[in-house]
């Protein structure tokens, strides 16, 4: 049991100070902008909730939000089952396991703009490995700077390449923590492979999968650098995800008010969906 001790706050203080400095002050700035209008020269005019209303009604925001949800949904639907499947097919122990894990984790350690640049080089129609292969060996016309569908396929493939390993590592960690006796008991009980997955492996992986899904949701919902470097949001607006649109408004057009209002709405959506995921996935533990 944990003991009650208010002095524990002292231990938390440095963390609190550092995070608050980074989170609260910028957040207040954002809130401040979101209710004002500026024409430069540090002159601000009170606007109330006008920007929020404007953003929530704007077709452009709806379209970007729709693309963002589409992207995140596709990512989760592909990466989670794929990651679990790969983790299941890994041996439980052996000299090759650490080697596999290191190789799998490698894409996660590459700076995000390098990931974008790398996939750009990889998919160039005539000189990229994948671009050349699809265009000249498979004979399918593929150019993500021209074709929105090709652009989507590319950013999805890139994200699967970049982040599926996170699901693999987490699932694998859950799997190796299951004692042998569970598998032996299942054998003796005559359980099928499906039953072993459904009644032993999946329940034991539930905690780590909750973490995996939450992290994948947050990070894919906030994704900016990789698709920006790869497609720049194009062709047209076809891959302009929420973050990309936000930066376009804030830094491209310097519309600080609307950009700030959009940031807050964006943050609120992320928070709400994360909370929803978390509550749904841990609901069973409560009763």
């Amino acid at each position: 049991m944990k003991t009650e001790n208010q002095k524990a706050w002292l231990f938390v203080l440095p963390v609190l100070a550092l995070v608050a400095f980074n989170a609260l002050i910028p957040m207040m700035t954002v809130v401040n902008y979101s209710v004002q209008e500026t024409f430069g020269n540090n002159q601000f005019f009170w606007e109330g909730l006008t920007w929020f209303e404007q953003i929530l009604r704007s077709e452009r925001f709806h379209a970007a939000l729709g693309r963002q949800f589409m992207f995140t949904a596709l990512i989760l639907v592909i990466e989670v089952p794929l990651g679990i499947a790969i983790a299941l097919s890994m041996p439980r122990s052996g000299p090759w396991v650490p080697v596999c894990l290191v190789l799998m984790a490698l894409p996660m350690l590459i700076p995000w703009n390098v990931v974008g640049a790398m996939w750009n080089i990889f998919t160039l129609p005539d000189i990229g490995l994948m671009g050349y292969f699809v265009n000249h060996v498979l004979g399918i016309t593929y150019d993500m700077t021209q074709n929105p569908f090709a652009a989507w396929v590319t950013i999805i493939t890139m994200d699967v390449w970049h982040w599926t390993s996170l699901v693999v590592l987490l699932s694998y960690a859950g799997l190796v923590s299951i004692p042998d006796a569970y598998y032996q008991a299942a054998k003796i009980d005559g359980a099928s492979n499906w039953s072993v997955f459904r009644y032993i492996q999946l329940p034991k992986m539930k905690n780590v999968l909750t973490i995996a899904i939450l992290l994948r949701f947050m990070d894919s919902f906030n994704i900016y650098t990789e698709p920006f470097v790869l497609t720049g949001g194009g062709p047209g607006n076809s891959t302009t995800l929420l973050s990309i649109d936000l930066v376009k408004i804030a830094l491209g057009q310097f519309d600080l008010g609307p950009a700030a209002a959009m940031s807050l709405i964006y943050f609120a959506i992320t928070l709400f969906v994360s909370w929803l995921f978390y509550t749904l996935m841990t609901k069973d533990d409560l009763n």
């Binding site: 938390v12 963390v15 957040m27 290191v102 799998m104 790398m118 080089i121 994948m130 947050m218």
Partner: protein, 265 residues
């Protein structure tokens, strides 16, 4: 070999292809890259690497990145240690709310904070320093470090603390000499993740620096746009950014799987 073990192999092959392409391209001459498709470098050249290692704007990019990433890792882990201890051992007013609030900071899109960060760090006068980037990355690394360390500390029985007090250890001495060494695997895992997320982040690092502390990743984007499209050079710089990550991950290879399982939501 069982057909099932082919699955991870095929997956790893898929992961290695773009990396191979990047590395292969870094050894090609610009002429070869632009003249058409070739699976292997036809005329092997180290020109791109020579450029990077002789031009200070290039190699200082690496040094800058490594400085602020290391600084961030040290700050994040050392402030997260006592906080994680508090969360794992004590109940106190608002502890659950605080923990949740810390985690929500991982959810804030970095794009949201870019401009306010620029203003904030300019205002306190540390814009374009390594410290600025290191502090800014604390926003998402501290919550993560607290989360991972709390998971590891939860697995250490409370009896260890009590035994140490009975043996006459003062709290700071117990914490540094006994407790931290007990969870050194957790410290390793937390440090690894801090390093990783600080190393791969670009948006904030780019926003908070101009010349003095400019990260390698930002140097790359600039080169890509200003000096025409020098693919070979870009590929070589990209290849070099993979190496520090690969070295760090090699050291924690036996902990990655376990470290994840011990953290909890």
């Amino acid at each position: 070999m069982k057909p099932r073990s082919l699955v991870p192999l095929v997956y790893i092959l898929f992961l290695m292809l773009p990396i191979y392409w990047l590395v292969a391209m870094s050894f090609k001459t610009t002429n070869e890259i632009l003249s058409g498709f070739s699976l292997f470098p036809q005329t092997f050249t180290l020109d791109a690497y020579r450029t990077i290692f002789t031009d200070p704007t290039w190699y200082w990019g690496y040094i800058n990145s490594i400085i602020y990433v290391s600084l961030n890792t040290v700050i994040s882990v050392s402030v997260a240690l006592p906080a994680a201890y508090a969360f794992s051992r004590y109940r106190f007013l608002g502890d659950k709310q605080l923990f949740f609030w810390l985690l929500t900071n991982r959810m804030a899109p970095a794009a949201v904070f870019a401009l306010p960060f620029f203003q904030l760090y300019s205002a306190v006068g540390i814009f374009d320093t390594h410290l600025a980037v290191a502090l800014a990355h604390c926003l998402f690394n501290i919550p993560l470090a607290v989360w991972i360390l709390e998971g590891f500390m939860g697995g250490v029985p409370k009896e260890l603390d009590e035994t140490a007090y009975v043996d006459g250890y003062s709290f700071p001495r117990f914490f540094v000499r006994i407790f931290v060494p007990t969870i050194k695997a957790g410290v390793g895992v937390a440090a690894f993740f801090c390093f990783m997320f600080s190393w791969v982040e670009l948006l904030l690092a780019k926003t908070l620096t101009a010349v003095e502390a400019k990260p390698i990743a930002a140097t790359m984007t600039k080169t890509a746009s200003s000096a025409g499209y020098e693919l070979g050079l870009l590929a070589a710089a990209g290849t070099l950014t993979i190496i520090p990550g690969a070295i760090v991950i090699y050291f924690v290879r036996n902990y990655i799987a376990k470290g994840f399982a011990m953290g909890r939501v």
